[in-house]
């Protein structure tokens, strides 16, 4: 049964667990991984008759889909830090990102911010999670390409789309009826000083 809220003890265990997970996991160089994404898009573009937006979208969908598949096999382990309280999503996000990128994740992802639907500053009146990227793993490696071409693609949101997809999976697991709509509100490729994505939680129609 999914708990209503994560307690202090669970949070403590999660902090220890994320460090153990990271320490124990086989790792690779982040630059090589980013280059893999870059060169995969370049190859897909060749295969798709030069259609860059479609090449980017293909990788985006593939990445989100494989992230979900991976996460499904780990849902049992995640029970400890999963709760029905939306405030706890920030803890879940911290633990997940740390276990993937280690302590360096904060260079690329600031702490996710939760904006409740009833917050006076929330114009849309939908629960929101705001992610900010001080630096972008994806965009860091395409400076030597024609970035103007990438500006109108979804290249910058490949990672946040996968994160949104994972969050949707968590909501399915805890039985919270939301679907997630991701909007990339700021992007380096479009001249913003940082990357920002907002995940809007839409009540699921039954």
């Amino acid at each position: 049964m999914v708990r209503k809220k994560i307690g202090i003890f669970q949070k403590f265990l999660a902090q220890v667990g994320k460090r153990l997970q990271w320490w124990h996991a086989p790792k690779m160089d982040l630059y090589v991984l980013a280059l893999m994404a870059r060169e995969t898009v370049v190859k897909y573009r060749e295969l798709l008759n030069g259609n860059l937006p479609e090449a980017v979208n293909t990788l985006k969908e593939q990445f989100a889909s494989s992230a979900r598949t991976y996460m499904q096999s780990f849902m049992g382990q995640l029970k400890l830090i999963v709760s029905k309280d939306l405030n706890d999503i920030t803890t879940m996000s911290d633990v997940s990102l740390y276990s993937i990128l280690g302590p360096d994740y904060k260079h690329f992802f600031s702490n996710i911010k939760y904006l409740p639907a009833d917050d006076p500053n929330n114009k849309e009146k939908l629960h929101q999670f705001i992610t900010v990227s001080p630096k972008c793993v994806m965009c860091s490696v395409i400076g030597d390409l024609n970035t103007a071409e990438y500006k109108d693609t979804e290249y910058g949101e490949i990672i946040s789309y996968a994160l949104a997809s994972l969050l949707e999976l968590i909501f399915e697991y805890i039985g919270t009826p939301y679907t997630i709509e991701l909007k990339e509100t700021r992007c380096f490729l479009r001249g913003s000083p940082f990357g920002e994505g907002i995940m809007y939680l839409h009540p699921k129609k039954t």
Binding site: W22, A25, P26, K27, S66, I100, G191
Partner: protein, 176 residues
């Protein structure tokens, strides 16, 4: 067009780590997508091509220190994602120089990603590794810093655990 704001540079990423699982979970989709669009033989070339391009960019930042075949290959794989590789000389020329060597990858990270065995003939699942190694060996030959003074190296994957083989083996042919 240069970016108005810096989203980060390759130097910001180089040396930082990420779980190898991220690459392992997306690699099968890449292989399948290539197979949907090309013949198995061409898909294998595509995998090698992607790896060579990655290695080219990587060498803009990474300066290998090793000067022997085994150490260099170990250094490359160690830098990318770790692993355990051994080398066997299969054939030597009349001057006792190795002209055909075998790299046996005892801990192939790419083949670990395949939950199911790839049953397509003509493509070796971890061919990307041969692309990495080939580009590096030829780059080092151009630099003239290797102890073995070969002109060029041609590396081909001949068996992959991802195809159901017992070991991942990459054959390297040297031209002097």
């Amino acid at each position: 067009m240069p970016l108005e704001y810096s989203p980060g540079t390759p130097q910001d990423l180089f040396g930082k780590k990420v779980r190898v699982l991220v690459a392992q979970m997306t690699y099968p989709d890449l292989v399948n997508f290539l197979l949907q669009h090309h013949s198995p033989e061409q898909a294998e070339e595509d995998l090698r091509d992607i790896a060579q391009r990655i290695c080219k960019k990587l060498l803009e930042l990474w300066k290998p220190k090793s000067r022997t075949l085994l150490k260099l290959t170990k250094e490359l794989l160690g830098m990318i994602w770790g692993g355990d590789i051994i080398l066997k000389v299969i054939q030597r020329d009349e001057l006792k120089r190795p002209i055909l060597v075998q790299f046996i990858d005892k801990d192939c990270k790419l083949c670990r990603s395949g939950e199911e065995v790839l049953e397509v003939k003509g493509v070796h699942y971890c061919s990307a590794v041969s692309g990495f190694v080939e580009y590096l060996l030829n780059y080092m030959a151009q630099q003239g810093t290797m102890k073995l003074k070969y002109k060029s190296a041609d590396v081909r994957t001949t068996s992959s655990k991802g195809n159901g083989d017992k070991q991942c083996i990459h054959f390297c042919t040297f031209t002097f």
